[in-house]
């Protein structure tokens, strides 16, 4: 059952990438594939990040522990789509010229924000294995709280680019705020419970 769920989730999460890769190579993304690929991969990275953070609330609501087994994969996909987003940026906008990249990072805050979000996700990706989890012990969880600032940076990265309609950016901001509020609430409830237990 767990195996089926894992394979199913893996394939499902890979589908958007397969589609955009095929569309880009076959040149069916319209006259400006740069913009299409950037929007698509950026948005899927955000979606995966939101899904990752949705796992524990959903587990608490449904009691379905299988969900927790998928969380690592979802998080890795968020990093993967963010990475593809960055590679597309290098291909379409930077032309693989290092000085052009450093200039963009220095001069465009929204690019620096998106890049920082990706950088924050990098240590999470490489410490996502079970061995690393064991080795880092309680520090692992502390380290992986970096996912919250990464989500905030990613939202700001999107919000900063809105020109006249902030609807889409606000949609994701609302989702992440909801997920964070749920966590804060859970924490407060836990503290209350332990206080009561101590009494």
């Amino acid at each position: 059952m767990e195996r089926v769920a894992r394979i199913g989730a893996f394939v499902l999460c890979l589908l958007p990438f397969a589609w955009v890769l095929y569309a880009a190579v076959s040149n069916s993304l319209g006259p400006d594939p740069a913009e299409a690929v950037m929007l698509f991969t950026g948005e899927w990275s955000l979606r995966m990040l939101a899904l990752t953070l949705l796992v524990s609330p959903l587990r608490d609501l449904t009691g379905w522990s299988l969900l927790m087994k998928l969380r690592r994969m979802l998080g890795l996909y968020a990093f993967f789509y963010g990475g593809v987003h960055f590679l597309a940026f290098l291909q379409f906008y930077i032309g693989w010229v290092p000085s052009a990249l450093t200039e963009e990072l220095a001069e465009r805050p929204y690019i620096a924000l998106g890049f920082s979000a990706l950088i924050l996700m990098f240590p999470l990706a490489i410490t996502s294995t079970r061995a690393m989890q064991r080795r880092l012990r309680s520090n692992w969880q502390r380290l992986h709280r970096l996912v919250y600032p990464a989500a905030v940076l990613a939202c700001l990265h999107l919000l900063w680019q809105a020109r006249s309609d902030v609807g889409e950016a606000l949609f994701y901001v609302a989702i992440f705020i909801g997920l964070l509020v749920w966590r804060v609430r859970r924490r407060i409830l836990k503290q209350k419970r332990s206080m009561i237990a101590r009494l």
């Binding site: 400006d32 913009e35 020109r163």
Partner: protein
């Protein structure tokens, strides 16, 4: 003196290769007819008509003069791309939205009101516009402030000819333009998260407005304008960023005071009144040094350097002599 009007063959094939022009998948995409069943039965002619719903051929004069900027020899962007990709926020902020939803706008009947600092204020109906001005083809570069660009074969006439009819008086220092605002037919204006104060407004200094390159376009690729490209009549100012070239104009107001334009009022630090194409003055959020000339592909992004005044410096630089273009962006 009606000999100016030649009846031309519709020589779109002179500009775009036939194969691209007739690529039916692109046409379907352009017309937003993807979901339409039974497309297989349509003839090529019907598909060509579908790209510019209701478009009819125009009588116009070809231009040959490269020297005065009226035409460029660069490869024009295929009609399917020009009609499928663009910004017309009245229909939504996605580049595909105008192509998908602009057909909801009624472009006929239409009239333009010309008021303000003129001796003869009045209204001009579309029929008069099409029959009384000397229509010309102009192949212009179009550079969007978002750093993509196209080459577009417009059909139209100089704005100067239109303004002359209303006899601007000595107080006419600026020209303000207004786009149609009809929420029922423009779903983008109904967005609750949008921040634009409709109707869309643009403006030019009088000397810019009277410049021969400044075009009132009524056609594209030899036919009347598709709705998504600003039907039935729009402004085209080729040396300025695309947002200056206001679409679907219903009102022209001449005045002594500089008008506040839509983008200027929304983000004055990012969009100035002049908005001249300038590779040396970056948009605060992105570089303007280069542009993606569309169509571009994954393996051939087609990035080219952006030229001062979009390559029209020879024709227009004198208008801005002595001005600090980094401050008057």
């Amino acid at each position: 003196m009606r000999q100016r009007y030649v009846i031309p063959p519709i020589d779109s094939s002179e500009i775009t290769s036939e194969s691209i022009y007739l690529k039916r998948r692109d046409f379907m995409r352009a017309a937003g007819l993807m979901a339409m069943p039974a497309m297989g039965g349509l003839s090529l002619a019907a598909e060509a008509a579908a790209v510019t719903t209701g478009a009819s051929p125009l009588d116009y004069r070809k231009t040959s003069s490269v020297a005065d900027g009226f035409r460029t020899d660069e490869q024009p962007t295929p009609a399917a791309d020009i009609t499928a990709y663009g910004n017309f926020y009245e229909f939504g902020t996605d580049k595909g939205d105008p192509g998908r939803y602009a057909h909801e706008m009624t472009a006929d009947p239409w009239s333009i009101e010309v008021v303000g600092a003129v001796h003869k204020p009045g209204k001009l109906h579309l029929e008069d516009i099409l029959s009384s001005f000397d229509l010309q083809e102009r192949v212009y570069r179009l550079r969007c402030v978002e750093a993509w660009s196209m080459v577009v074969p417009w059909v139209g006439f100089s704005l100067a000819d239109l303004l002359a009819r209303f006899e601007p008086n000595s107080e006419a220092k600026y020209v303000e333009f207004e786009t149609l605002y009809r929420p029922k037919e423009m779903r983008g204006t109904r967005s609750v998260t949008g921040t634009i104060d409709w109707p869309y407004r643009e403006g030019l200094r009088m000397d810019e407005a009277m410049h021969p390159l400044t075009l009132m376009a009524v056609g594209l690729y030899g036919k009347t304008l598709p709705n998504q490209n600003g039907a039935p009549i729009r402004l085209v100012v080729p040396w300025k960023y695309g947002f200056k070239s206001i679409k679907s104009i219903v009102r022209i107001h001449l005045s002594e005071k500089r008008p506040v334009t839509t983008w200027e009022s929304l983000a004055p630090g990012e969009y100035g009144f002049y908005a001249n194409v300038n590779p040396e003055v970056d948009h605060p959020r992105w570089s303007q040094a280069t542009e993606r000339r569309l169509p571009s592909t994954l393996f051939r992004p087609n990035r080219i350097p952006t030229k001062m005044f979009n390559g029209y410096a020879e024709q227009v630089a004198h208008l801005y002599q002595g001005m600090d273009l980094a401050r008057n962006y």
